[in-house]
Amino acid sequence: MRGTETVALKNVSFYYLDESELSDETSADSEVSAGRYESTESCVQDICLNIPAGSCTVLCGRSGSGKSTVLRLIDGLAGTFFPGEKSGVVLVHGTDVFDLSPRNRTKSIGVVTQDPRSQFFMGTVGDEIAFSLENLGTDPSDTIKFVQEAATLSGVSRLLAEKLTELSSGQKQRVALAAAIANRPQILILDEPTSNLDAEGSQSLIKILGELKRNGVALIISEHRLHQFLPVADEFVYLQEGRIAARWDVEKFTSLSEHETAKFGLRHPDMKSDSEIKSYPAKDADGWHMTDVTYLYPSTKRGIKGITAEFPFGSVTVICGENGTGKTTLAKVLVGAAREQRGIVARNGKHLSRKERRLLSYFVMQDVDYQLYAGSVADEVVLGRQVDDALKARAWEALAAFGLTDLADRHPASLSGGQKQRVILATAYCSDAELIVLDEPTSGLDGHGMHEVVHWCRKLASEKKAVVVITHDELLAQLAGDYIVDLSLQKRD
């Protein structure tokens, strides 16, 4: 059902006036934001795109290449909410997006942000999906009908009365989609919609997008996990340093080899690790062990049951599995944040109490903003510890190891997402912790960023630490893991 041009960008360039907005563009990347991008004056240049009704355009490129800015240009936020200088024109149904009234813009464009939490306003799922419709002044009986339709299509019709705070990340993503499509927009913009979804969740999202596309909705998606969009995509647009550097139709994109995508810094399903992944370490390997551990949340009775796993020193163990299989719960028990209801956690055969586990471990949360507290990067690395010459030397070694020496005086809050993640890892490197857990470290990262995370994990493991990576990203599991604990398999067993 491809039709007339719904969105058109004609020679559009955009320069942010507020440089801090660039940090959003470079949020996930480390190298780009380390200096190169900050000295670049423009954000996107000379963008030309024609997106017909019933088509799907996937924007790809390294983090910081301008994908989010292109999305902001289409939804009209760049130049208004995010001040900047724009040249060229963005047309939505033939009208300059700046000339659209708020009502027409809300009617025409639905947006799903990368973090659904940042787009929710209401308390319950039903209220949230109805929010745009109510703002538009839709008759309540029609609102109820449209909410029901959007919820059914997005697979959340049973959750309408649920509180948003009680949903899983995958469910939140579906609710965000339902909220965006409830008023039947002709254009749907999705910013990294699969970053919080496992393979199964991603597949069902893509099915929904296929349905919307058949209904004539123009889809514009910014993503890093590109190959899963092959069933719905019409065009892949590659952005580099704010310019369109390549375009591929589905056939050409499919034919790109792993070597070719690597040149563009993109992910490819054939990306391989140099070392072979093993399911189980040697029996006598030094490290932490978990035997027959059970932890079920009292309220939901969900969690982990009878899990046995090993986490050897000097290696990277990946905990993988679908959303809701208990990956984070397992890690919480491992680091002593939750008390096991059955089973034991031991180190080289010796039982470890919860307090000992807390002292000997370090958990890097998915959102590192929750774990940065000091006034400078250098202070962050030694925070809460008695500083002596030995610790100072160790801290400088950690900063050098993670490429942070030049940023030692910077406030952690002023750094990009990738740099913040490195600060936390340098802190872990500097600490006495012998077991380090990373929770979904590659969410929203491109192929290059993912390789960097793998490199950092190796660096931590080379210090004889037991590194544990929680992920539903199969590619990361393949690249980073020496050993794999697959909770999906354990559940089935």
Binding site: T113, D127, G137, P140, I144, L164
Partner: protein, 235 residues
């Protein structure tokens, strides 16, 4: 959809219009400022508690009563300087606060729609929307920060917090401010895209409008607070 259809008729246990709650809040607030004696203040708090309980917020009502009792006790302590005045002032704030908690029995959708019908400025409505959003997300953010501190091993035990209160404050406050700033920015962008700036004419799936129930409630609240004020005048 059944769940939404059920809530279509009424919002909150009594199904009152948000503006009725606003009226109750103002009436209790005014009388709370006018009365001086402890007996009348206690009666006002008792009435506010009954109001909140009748609107289905029993747990909040209990909490506000506990707070009232604690602050009442503190106000009797022979404290130096302005501390005594501070506690008495706080004591008088609790009855209107208790009444105001009835707003949380309503959907933000109904509140925004009701205020929109009064043609309140758009910025005010956006502010209300943000308050509700932050009220629901801040506890989550606080819990996440505390979890983050613990998982970094900065304070493995509570004793560490007692020994280093300044560091504990810094560790909690810095990420809370940064997260709040980021969230407010992202929420505002999202609000704009989702039509918060469209202007008047907002609708709600919840019942918004005055009924006999609202009139009865307004009458009861007015009579009660007037009675409490009159009691003070008589005594």
């Amino acid at each position: 959809m059944n769940d939404m259809e059920e809530t279509d008729i009424k919002c909150g246990l009594l199904g009152l219009d948000p503006r009725t709650h606003l009226l109750s809040f103002f009436l209790v607030g005014i009388v709370s400022m006018l009365i001086v004696n402890l007996l009348e203040t206690v009666l006002l708090q008792a009435f506010a508690t009954a109001y909140l309980t009748a609107n289905g917020r029993t747990r909040s009502a209990t909490r506000t009563c506990v707070s009232f009792t604690v602050i009442c006790g503190l106000s009797f302590l022979p404290l130096p300087g302005l501390y005594g005045v501070l506690f008495v002032s706080m004591l008088h704030m609790i009855p209107p606060f208790t009444t105001g908690c009835a707003f949380f029995s309503l959907s933000p959708s109904a509140i925004m729609c009701a205020l929109d019908r009064w043609h309140l400025p758009q910025k005010f409505l956006v502010g209300i929307c943000m308050i509700f959003r932050f009220a629901s997300i801040l506890p989550f953010e606080m819990r996440s920060i505390l979890r983050g501190i613990r998982m970094r091993g900065i304070f493995p035990s509570l004793l560490g917090i007692v020994r280093h209160p300044a560091l504990a404050y810094e560790c909690f406050y810095t990420p809370l401010v940064m997260r709040s700033l980021r969230l407010s920015n992202e929420l505002a962008a999202s609000a704009e895209l989702r039509g918060i700036g469209i202007g008047t004419g907002r609708t709600s799936v919840y019942h918004v409008g005055f009924t006999l129930r609202d009139a009865m409630c307004a009458l009861v609240v007015t009579a009660a607070v007037a009675g409490i004020y009159a009691l003070e005048a008589v005594l």
